[in-house]
Amino acid sequence: MIGNDIIDLSVAKLESNWQRRGFLKKQFTEHEQQLILAAPNPFVLVWKFWSMKEAAYKVYAQQNEVRFFAPKKFDCLLMSEKEGLVNFKNQIFYTTSIITRDYIFTLATLDKAIKAYSKFVMPQFIDRMIKIKLEDVTAFSAKEIKQKKKKNRAPLYYYKNILLTKSCSISHHGSYGVFSLLYP
């Protein structure tokens, strides 16, 4: 299972105010709050933690077929600039984040060794680009590849009855879109 999240930093700056009362307290652990407030760029760390939590949540939600909003319970630990661990209900999620001036991208997995494929695309073309990628990988025609999505669930891609994706995660925010695929 994989889960991803992308944050368009210019949109985050515009549409959210991490300094508003309650924002940190409701979503971040005491330890995360301390690190944020001590960071040279608190804004970036807020959204890095947030994307780690969201990516890990997406793995958990797929795995357990549940939905909820409990960011504070996803406890983040930074291992290096890119790598982190998120602990939720005694389960560990491994995260890798890419941070640029413009966006933060995080991919979460259950197994550190998992190699998923991720690609940045324009938000409106995500579905089309996934099908084109799957055509490359499987040689089935993109036109014949269909997305099947149970209500409230992450999408899966099929050719007829053949499942082409073991796990698929999609995220978009502002100008950025991204998909991550794990093949069966």
């Binding site: 959210s16 508003r20 309650g22 924002f23 409701k26 939905r67 909003f69 504070k72």
Partner: protein
């Protein structure tokens, strides 16, 4: 406060975060914040903080976990208001 008044105040709170205006026009108790209104999950906390300010209530973590739809939000607000 009647349910109609409650849904009206709630609509005013969530309006700035809604990305699907068509779904907002057809809002009902069954409307989901993320799946229907396309509110970004990064803004869910703003909805919750705005609800706290507007109704002068505190939404605990347990209630917050469920606040993904109009119906859930209304139930939580009603329960908290009844206690205050």
């Amino acid at each position: 406060m009647t349910r109609k008044e409650l849904i009206t105040s709630l609509k005013k709170i969530i309006k700035p975060y809604v990305q699907d205006q068509e779904a907002f026009k057809n809002l009902s108790e069954e409307t989901d914040f993320i799946n229907d209104l396309k509110i970004n999950s990064a803004n869910l906390v703003d909805v919750i903080l705005d609800v706290e300010d507007e109704f002068d209530i505190e939404i605990d973590n347990e209630s917050m976990e469920k606040m993904l739809s109009v119906k859930a939000a209304m139930e939580i607000i009603e329960t908290k208001l009844a206690k205050s």
